[in-house]
Subunit: 437 residues, 2 copies
C-alpha cells in the first residue's frame, strides 16, 4: 500500500504492525545512520537518528492483499527451516567490518531482528519507510517492494565460525560460547571452492514466493549493516529442489530428476528432534532449539550431463527419471531395496540413503540457480544446496560417503559455508540475544 | 505429467498436442542429432535421428493443471510482445556457428519453431521428451520442467544485423532482405558496453510465470541449436518493470519507483499500429506485422542511489516515489504538466515523454535483474530494458534525448542488442519463413 491506501489496507497495516510490535523498539542510532547515509559518506548526516525517532506513527503496510498469512518472525525456532519451501531464494553472506566490537555486533543483530520482524509481516524496513521520512534525507526503505505483499517471506540468520574467533582473536567476547561443531568444513574430494563465494561471519537466508520481496529484504538488511558488516557474497535461487510438506509435489533439479523425495517433513516432529534441532545437552545452551546450516554451491556440467544416455542417468541417480521411483521398483515413495543389484553400489540414492549412513538424515532446502553462461556458451548453472542438521558431522559423513558417487563426474562444488543457526528470537528480543546475556 | 498421469492429464496432453499439431511435422534430423549428442561429441550417435522418428506417438503433456490457458505460438504477431507481462525472463543471444549455410539456418528456425510451439503449450521439447525415448540415447528433453504447467510461457525470436551480413559476407543469402533499420545501435553518451554481453545473430526472449519453465525453454533451444548456433550471452530477470494491461498494477524498478506507467497497452490497437508493428510500406515485406526489439542491460549504482535524499530522487525521476504521480500534481495516471517548473527540465519523465519527442512511444517489457555482487560487496543489479518499436530510430531518438537525464549519474549501460522481430509463424510453418520463400 502507499499513501492513497484504502481503509482495509490501513487496517491490515495496523494488524501487521501489531504482529511486529514485539520487536525491539526500533532501529539503533547506528542503524538509522546507516540508512541515512548508506555506504561511505560518514559525516554527511550525523544526527539523522534523532530526527527520525518520531517517525514510528507513520508505519504502513506494503500491501493489503496476500495469498496467505505472513509467517511469524518470533518463535521457538527461526522461520525458514521447516517452513513450506517458498519459490525463491536470496542468500547472503556477510563479514563483520574491521575494528567492530561487541556493541556493534549486538546493535546489528537488534537492527536486523527489528527489520526482519517488520519485513516478514509485509511492512517496510522501518516505520518511516520509503516515503514517510523527511524529504531532505535518503529514504529508510529502498522502496522496490512497496505495493507487494509479504509473499511468504522468511528471514533466517546464522553465525559463522569467524564470528566467534578469527585471526584477530575473540573480537566479540563470545569465543567461549562457540559451538563445538562450528568449524569450516573439511576439504572434500573434488572441491573446487571459490573463497570469495564461500564462508562468512554471518549469513541471511531470505525465502519468498516473489523474488523482488527476497531481494528487497537482503538489500535493505545489507544497507542497515552499514559500518558493521559488509556483504561478502550472495546467491539467487529459484524452483526449490526440496519440499518440507507432504502435499507439495517433489520438484526437479537441473539434471531433470526429482529431488527431495525423502526429505524430512515439517510435521515429522520426531525426525526434526532427532536430526535437525540442536538438543539441550549437545552444545552451549544458546544454541538449543537451533540448528546448523550448510550451504554448498554445486555447479552442474549441464551440457555434459545432457549427453548421457537415459539408462545411464537413471543408474547414476538410482531412480528412474520419469517417476522418481527407485530402480529396485515401486513408485517414488517406495523405499529403495539395496539388497539386489538393480541399484548401483555407487548410485547417488544408495550412497546418500540413511540406511547406508547409520540412519543420518538432513533437512534439505536447496534451490536451482542459473548465473548466465560462460565464454563457451555453457550455462553457469546448478544447485545451491542448503541443509539443516543438528550436527555438522552428519553432513560431513554424508558428503564423504558421496566421494564415490557416480554423479561426481557431472558436478563441481564451487562454494561452501557453515553457520550456527540460533533458536528463534523471543518477542521483544533479538536473534542471538542469549549469546550476550 | 509423467507416465503415471491421470486420464484428465492424458486428455490435456492430447488437447495440447492438437494446439501444437500445426507446427512443422517434427524436428529435423540435424536437430535430433543435436539432442542425441549435445555439444561437441560429433560422430558418437550418427543415425540417432532416424531411430527417433517413430517416437511421435509418445508425446505427453508436462502437467495437467495450469492457472491459465497457454498462449498460442502461431498467429499474426509473435507472442511475448503484447502478452500480459509474465513474472520471469530468460533472455538469450546466439551467434551462428562458423561455416553454417542457408539450410542450416532454415532447419534451425524450423526446429526452434517446432520446439517452441510445443513448450509454450506445456509439452516437452519433442514428442519423445525426457523419458519416452530409447534408454540407450540421451533424453531429447532435459526434464526439469516435467510436472510443471506451461506457466504462461512465450518464446519470441529475433534476427540480428549479423544474420544478414557480417565480415564473412552474406552467409545465408538474405542480405538483400535486410531491414533498413537493422544496424547495431550507435554509441550513446556514457555507454560502457561489454561486447561479450551485447549483440548477437539471433535472440530468444522466454517469459513465463515460473523461472524454471523459462530456463527450461532456453536450455532446450540452446541444445537443439547444436552445430548451428551457439549461446553468446544470456540474462535472467524478475519482477517485470512494465505492464501491458490496464488491470496490472504498475511494478517498481530497483530504484524503488513505479516504472511503466505510460506504457503502450495490449488493447490499444491504434498505438500498437502507430508505434510497435512494422507496417507494410516501411520495410521488406517479410517484416510487416513484426517489430524491432532493443535490449539494454542497465546497471544501477544501487548503493549510490540509496544515499540520495528523497526529494532529490523525486526530482530526478520527475514523479513522487510513493504514488508515482508527476510532480506537477495529480495521481499516477495524471498527465505531467511540463509548462511550470515543478518538473525539472532534465528529469527522466520529461526527457522520455512523448510530448518532448515528437510523439514517439515504445512498448517496454523490461525486468529487474540481480547477478550477485561485486568484490566490494555491492549488488550487481539493475534493469534489463527491453523495448519493442516499429523503427529503431524511435529508440535512438529517445536515448539521445536522455543524454542529459539526471538519472545518468546512477546508471551505466553495460549491454546492448538489436533484433528484427518477424511476424508470427503461420500454422504449419516457422518463424522467419518469409525470408526464405
Amino acid at each position: 500500500m502507499n499513501e492513497s491506501g484504502t481503509d482495509a489496507a490501513a487496517e491490515e497495516a495496523s494488524s501487521a504492525e501489531q504482529a511486529a510490535a514485539s520487536a525491539p523498539a526500533g532501529l539503533s542510532r547506528r542503524g538509522l545512520l546507516g540508512l541515512a547515509i548508506g555506504g561511505g559518506v560518514a559525516g554527511l548526516a550525523v544526527g539523522a537518528g534523532a530526527g527520525l525517532a518520531g517517525g514510528v506513527a507513520l508505519g504502513r503496510a506494503r500491501a493489503a492483499a496476500d495469498a496467505q498469512d505472513p509467517y511469524a518472525f518470533f518463535g521457538d525456532h527461526q522461520a525458514g527451516i521447516t517452513t513450506a519451501v517458498q519459490d525463491h531464494l536470496h542468500f547472503a553472506s556477510f563479514d563483520m567490518m574491521p575494528r567492530t566490537d561487541r556493541d556493534d555486533l549486538i546493535s546489528l543483530l537488534q537492527d536486523w531482528s527489528y527489520a526482519a520482524s517488520r519485513m516478514t509481516q509485509g511492512l517496510e524496513v522501518s516505520a518511516t519507510g520509503a516515503v514517510g521520512g523527511p524529504a531532505e534525507q535518503p529514504p529508510e526503505d529502498t522502496g522496490e517492494a512497496l505495493g507487494l505483499p509479504a509473499a511468504g517471506l522468511t528471514i533466517t540468520f546464522g553465525f559463522g565460525p569467524g564470528l566467534f574467533e578469527n585471526e584477530d582473536g575473540d573480537r566479540y567476547g563470545i569465543a567461549a560460547l562457540r559451538p563445538k561443531g562450528l568449524e569450516r568444513l573439511p576439504a572434500f574430494l573434488g572441491d573446487d571452492l571459490d573463497p570469495q563465494g564461500s564462508h562468512g561471519d554471518l549469513c541471511i537466508q531470505a525465502c519468498a514466493d516473489d523474488p523482488q520481496v527476497a531481494v528487497h529484504a537482503i538489500r535493505n538488511l545489507s544497507r542497515l549493516a552499514f559500518g558493521r558488516a559488509r556483504l561478502r557474497w550472495s546467491q539467487l535461487g529459484f524452483g526449490k529442489t526440496s519440499r518440507t510438506t507432504a502435499t507439495a509435489a517433489t520438484p526437479r533439479n537441473l539434471f531433470g530428476f526429482k529431488d527431495g523425495t525423502a526429505n524430512i517433513l515439517a510435521d515429522d516432529q520426531k525426525a526434526l528432534d532427532a536430526h535437525v534441532w540442536v538438543a539441550d545437552e549437545d552444545e552451549p545452551s544458546w544454541l538449543a532449539g537451533g540448528s546448523y546450516l550448510v550451504a554448498r554451491k554445486i555447479a552442474m556440467l549441464i551440457e555434459t550431463w545432457d549427453r548421457v544416455r537415459l539408462a545411464e542417468q537413471d543408474t547414476i541417480v538410482g531412480r528412474d527419471k520419469g517417476e522418481g521411483a527407485p530402480l529396485s521398483g515401486g513408485d517414488e515413495f517406495t523405499a529403495p531395496n539395496f539388497s539386489g543389484t538393480s541399484i548401483d553400489a555407487n548410485s547417488h540414492v544408495r550412497l546418500a540413503h540413511p540406511e547406508q549412513n547409520d540412519g543420518i538424515r538432513i533437512l534439505r532446502r536447496g534451490y536451482n540457480y542459473v548465473d548466465g553462461n560462460n565464454d563457451l556458451g555453457r550455462l553457469d548453472a546448478g544447485l545451491f544446496f542448503l541443509s539443516y542438521q543438528r550436527d555438522p558431522a552428519h553432513f560431513i559423513t554424508l558428503q564423504r560417503r558421496l566421494s564415490t558417487d557416480l554423479m561426481n563426474e557431472y558436478i563441481r562444488h564451487v562454494g561452501s559455508g557453515i553457520w550456527a543457526i540460533p533458536r528463534g528470537a523471543r518477542p521483544g528480543s533479538y536473534v542471538g540475544a542469549e549469546l550476550f546475556a
